[in-house]
């Protein structure tokens, strides 16, 4: 915990200095697309640790001054598999965004979709020292949570206090200053593979940038795609991306669960390419232009040119009906949604007061996916587009940019994490000077 605390604190320092300068870039490393946005902050917005969720209405504090996207290379299932390729892609996208913004950025906040996220709910409890809750007590109770043994090679990316309980009163978001005897906290912990973060760190460093924060794409797309009352009353965000499908569950404006299915739009494309014998590029094109999930009788008569460059006339001039295409795409999409269903069941989504499900991500734009999802996930499904942020060009407002925009909002209004609070002194240790100072303060 202490090592993690230090590294996250260091990243937080960098993030704060970037916000002081008023410039930070957010980088969404996706499987099919890489997006970078340069954000300009109003210098007055200070970034103090505060409890409770930041109001979504206040996202006007930053402005997007540069956006660039590029085809992603070297990323599979949301994880970096070829460092050089990824580095080149990051260079392309960062340079494009810098060019548009006409400024140089040094700090980057990145989000990762894959890397096997796992959620843990942890709890901690302390006796209050002097009858009311201080910052110290919150630090103590967060440090006192019994961290599960999540294994070697895993790293915590999010550790958010979700709920505070003071004596018998539960559901507190900010217990500071309240009177009580026992303070307990529920914390949501999200861990991902260390190697994925380290690879990302290395790629970013090779581009002369500094990583000022890491977030999970499941969390950030939920932040941007869910509206405020959905976050409050309970909702799930299913971000169907290129290589992965991220699932996150929100309640009381906090993420309480996050996971990802290792399937996405690229799986659909490769199914088409394999099943209908065509190149990957042609399959992607046909999927985007003619794809769907619900076949009607007219689809039997709508013939699609497959195209090809093999030189074999019969092969290259093939035509398939749209119904055939739907017949290939639908089982894979059902499989993806069933995977999401499985995670939702595991998370206890059934017990939430409201069970709204929001589909977002690039693949969610397949026509008819909404009705397919309502059969698998539940009745209450809608397609979600990310919230509008200032300065964003029209081309970057689609559902494919949900996690990038959510990351920008996360950079502007980070939720309190465990490392935003000072650990109690006895836990850190080795700070005799601070101890002495405290002794002086207490005794004089």
């Amino acid at each position: 915990m202490s090592y993690l605390y230090e590294t996250q604190r260091a990243m937080r320092q960098k993030r704060q200095s970037a916000l002081q300068r008023g410039l930070v870039a957010v980088l969404d490393v996706g499987t099919s697309k890489m997006a970078c946005m340069v954000l300009q902050f109003d210098a007055r917005t200070v970034n103090e640790p505060r409890l409770g969720n930041a109001a979504l209405a206040s996202h006007g504090a930053f402005r997007v001054i540069g956006v660039a996207t590029t085809r992603s290379r070297g990323v599979r299932f949301g994880e970096i598999t070829a460092m050089d390729e990824t580095e080149r892609a990051i260079r392309t996208v960062v340079q494009g965004a810098q060019k548009m913004a006409n400024v140089r950025v040094d700090h980057v906040i990145a989000c990762l979709a894959g890397a096997d996220p796992r959620s843990y709910g942890v709890a901690g409890e302390v006796e209050l020292e002097n009858g009311n809750v201080t910052d110290q007590d919150i630090g103590r109770v967060l440090a006192g949570c019994d961290i599960p043994d999540y294994g070697v090679g895993r790293e915590t990316v999010h550790a958010m206090p979700v709920n505070f309980t003071l004596d018998h009163r539960s559901g507190l978001t900010d217990p500071r200053g309240q009177i009580g005897n026992r303070l307990s906290v529920d914390m949501h912990l999200l861990t991902i593979d260390t190697q994925a973060i380290e690879n990302l760190l290395k790629c970013v460093k090779r581009c002369d940038l500094e990583l000022a924060g890491v977030a999970s794409a499941a969390y950030t797309s939920g932040v941007s795609a869910l509206v405020e009352d959905e976050q409050e009353l309970g909702a799930a965000c299913v971000d169907i991306g290129g290589g992965t499908t991220s699932v996150s569950v929100f309640l009381k404006k906090h993420m309480i669960y996050g996971d990802s299915v290792r399937m996405g739009g690229d799986s659909v494309t490769s199914d088409i390419s394999k099943g209908l014998q065509m190149t990957h590029a042609a399959a992607e094109r046909i999927k985007t232009l003619h794809g769907g999930v619900i076949a009607t009788s007219i689809d039997d008569r709508e013939m699609i040119e497959v195209g090809g460059e093999t030189g074999d006339y019969d092969h290259d001039r093939r035509r398939i009906s749209r119904a055939e295409l739907i017949g290939v795409m639908r089982p894979r999409l059902e499989e993806i949604l069933e995977g999401a269903r499985m995670f939702l069941d595991a998370s206890g989504f059934d017990h939430l007061p409201s069970q709204r499900i929001v589909l977002t991500g690039g693949t969610s734009q397949i026509p008819g996916l909404e009705s397919l999802a309502s059969k698998i996930l539940g009745q209450n499904v809608r397609l979600g587009r990310p919230i509008r942020v200032q300065g964003l060009p029209q081309a970057a407002t689609g559902p494919a940019f949900a996690s990038a925009i959510g990351l920008a909002m996360y950079a502007a209004h980070p939720q309190d994490e465990c490392w935003d609070f000072d650990l109690p002194i006895e836990r850190i240790g080795g700070r005799p000077l601070k101890k002495a100072m405290r002794w002086f303060k207490d005794n004089w």
């Binding site: 590029t70 290379r73 080149r88 892609a89 260079r91 392309t92 960062v94 340079q95 810098q98 060019k99 006409n102 400024v103 140089r104 581009c207 002369d208 460059e309 030189g311």
Partner: protein, 292 residues
Amino acid sequence: MQQVDMPTRHDPAPSRVKYKLHRLWLTPFYRALIRTGLPVVCVLIVVLTYLRDPAVQQKIVTSFHNARMTIEQRPEFMVQQMRIQGVSADVDKMVRDSLAVKLPISTFHLDLETMKTNVEKIEAVEAVSILIGAKGILEVGVVMRAPALIWRSQEGLVLLDAQGHKSGRLTSRLDRTDLPLITGAGVQEHTGQALAIFKKLSPVAGRVRGLKRMGERRWDVFLDRDQVLKLPEDQPIAALGRILALHRAQDILNRDITVVDIRDGRKPILRLSDPALDGLKKLRLIASGEDN
């Protein structure tokens, strides 16, 4: 069989060098350096290489001098004549020497302040005004000092004006018999007093040979026949008046007296010459009847 050329997918990624250069270009400091610093340095290099050639330097200096000369020597700025007013012939020569101006000359080369102080160094000159008048005439207006006294000092015969300033030299006393003569050290501050004494002496003007400052504090009046009038330190005029009153009443200065000493201020003490003293003694013996 027809050759099928596969479309090569172009990777839009910038090379690492290009990426770094772009970031450098976006840094405000380097941007300013490249956009303004570099052109300035280039121009400076070109200009300095051109200027390093001695022939070029020579040319620049020559053309500068030529331009300067043409402006200076325009007829509007030239002084053709000099007119010196208010001086005697010998002082005129001295003034010309001290001005040391070779005509014709440009006004840019005339330093009127220095010329003025130079002329004012001449003893006979009390004040001078130098100005460049119309039609290029240098007007030198001189006010001479009026000599009032001749001072026989260690430097020789010096003319003093009424205020005690030196105003010229004499080689011979006979050149200015009209001026009274004084001598002794430290007279320059007391020329007014001396002049007043001379004025007071006007009843015996024909007999006065001169004044001598004694011990830098009081005056002795020398008359002919080696008569000396010793005046006191304070109020010498009044004391002199007393002597002259005595002279008027008793004609003492025409008698056989060598010294009239009125240093006391109230009563004069007379010293007879030796023969007169002998005669007086004889007369007294006769008067007392002890004739030998």
